[in-house]
Amino acid sequence: MKIVGLSGSKVGSKTRTAMNYTVKALQEKYPDTEVTLIDLAEYDVQFSDGRNYMEYDGDTKYVAETIMEADAIVIGTPVFQASIPATLKNVFDLLPVNAFRDKVVSILVTAGSPKHYLMVEQQLKPILAYMKAQMVQTYVFIEEEDFYRKEIVNDDVLFRIGRLAEDTVVLTETFSQIREAKEAEYDF
């Protein structure tokens, strides 16, 4: 199973910190999975110009292709201006409309306050649904006060991250088993 952790912003450290914990949780609990972390702060990704994702070069091609090859994606995003950051939206815009077909996507959010708790429901999930993702419905919402010097200091958040890792893998396995059984029924 290939899992990609996508840290969706170039600003700040909270999302990346939380993603580090998530990747570690996945690797410890599921050593057989192949986990790749893409932190958009470390890549020079161009804006989508409408071409097929395979026709980009360099970092843009790498990011798009790595996501397309994944079975599951854990998206980490901060809240910017009551929504997701442009860097993350651009990744969606680089990909085809059905990019997340047969993939599981789970979500982790970092925020300065709880004021935009529903941002995921209103902004992110509609995009993922349109792109055909199977979503882990429960997401982890982490606030400023849960961090101290690039560490998570709230056990509840750590437990939630553990459950998010587990739900992502369980759902991916479940869907792929159901799909394989269904496809075998087609007999072609």
Partner: protein
């Protein structure tokens, strides 16, 4: 329809097209050489002619996994190897070519083939050729519209005066040689949405409508929109042919056809488009109302006749060879078309 060399009395024309893809056979993982692929395409056209098929066309895609970038050259070899089958491009990407050179090539092809050549001009679904040939993808729409207009003007006027944004002006230019009958059929390639079909209608040019899959009724919207747009500009739609083009595979049973074709489509699309063809969607391809002509010969006959009733089109063009399909499977399909499918379609669509 005479201008487009179509005789309505003969019923629905049947054609074959290839994108000229050059992909490994997913069952063996092996890929034939580009040389062999090109020779097989020429042989494929010869077999099509022998089976009584009306039309054969070759496309250009400038990227990995394709072999017919120089499609006019391939068509020229096909012209030499055949005698009666109509030959065309599907499509010529006019946006990134010089319409004068394209017309010279295809008018020459028309003379070599003794009046059998046609041009289908398109905008490209894969855009790698913009970089390769030095064009800006931001001019995607305008490059096509301007160059397509010029191509049609060259076809209609022996002496051309023209100026535009993307090419040096033409002053009293004579583009030679001329096709056998002075002009040749030029189609607009349309894929997907009715918006593109409407543009073909406004210009009053024949429409080549490509389709992947889905209910045939969805594509009827494009056909209707095309004719409506043409009528709104004063064109007589009885004089404007429509062609449809998409996946085709005939086998003993529809289940066998799905089994034979699926790995080629799925793996081929993964390599050329980056996404496979979902099995669930492909399974629906055998439904009588699905646009994909996959099934037993009898089922395909019924599908094509149903589509003919919906669209009232003049030509259906089948794509069979995608994804590294081995040549013996193509031969078998051509044989089924020639012996079972074509006679039935002609019987039901020809006037007397």
């Amino acid at each position: 329809m005479e201008k487009y060399r179509i005789d309505k009395n003969k019923g629905l024309e049947f054609g074959i097209y290839t994108l000229g893809d050059h992909l490994p056979n997913p069952l063996t993982g092996e890929r034939i050489s580009a040389e062999q692929r090109l020779h097989e395409i020429i042989e494929y056209a010869k077999l099509a002619e022998q089976a009584g098929i009306d039309f054969f066309s070759v496309g250009e895609s400038h990227q990995e996994y394709f072999a017919t970038q120089a499609h006019a050259v391939v068509l020229s070899a096909i012209a030499q190897a055949t005698e009666k089958i109509k030959i065309a491009s599907s499509s010529t990407i006019i946006s990134t070519s010089d319409p004068v050179r394209v017309y010279e090539n295809f008018a020459t092809l028309d003379l070599i083939s003794k009046g059998r050549a046609e041009i289908i001009a398109g905008r490209a679904s894969r855009i790698g050729l913009f970089d390769l040939l030095g064009y800006n993808i931001r001019d995607y729409e305008e490059l096509f519209e301007e160059k397509f207009d010029l191509l049609r003007q060259i076809n209609e006027q022996e002496v051309v005066n023209w100026s535009g944004e993307f090419r040096a002006p033409l002053k009293n230019a004579r583009v030679l040689p001329r096709p056998q009958s002075g002009s040749m059929p030029i189609w607009r390639a349309v894929g997907g949405s009715p918006a593109s079909a409407i543009k073909a209608g406004y210009a009053g040019v024949p429409m080549f409508l490509a389709h992947l899959g889905g209910p045939a009724t969805v594509f009827k919207r494009s056909v209707d929109a095309y004719r409506e747009a043409a009528r709104s500009r004063g064109y007589d739609t009885d004089e404007l042919p429509v062609a449809t083009a998409g996946f085709f595979y005939a086998a003993e049973t529809s289940q066998q056809a799905l089994k034979d074709m699926y790995p080629f489509i799925n793996e081929g699309m993964k390599k050329t488009n980056g996404q496979g063809f979902p099995k669930q969607h492909f399974a629906q391809g055998v439904d009588p109302h699905n646009i994909m002509n996959i099934g037993s010969p009898q089922e395909i006959i019924e599908k094509i006749l149903y589509q003919h009733e919906l669209f009232g089109h003049q030509r259906y063009i089948a794509q069979i060879d995608f994804g590294g399909m081995p040549f013996d499977k193509l031969q078998k399909n051509i044989e089924l078309i020639g012996t079972e499918i074509l006679p039935a379609i002609r019987k039901y669509t020809a006037k007397d």
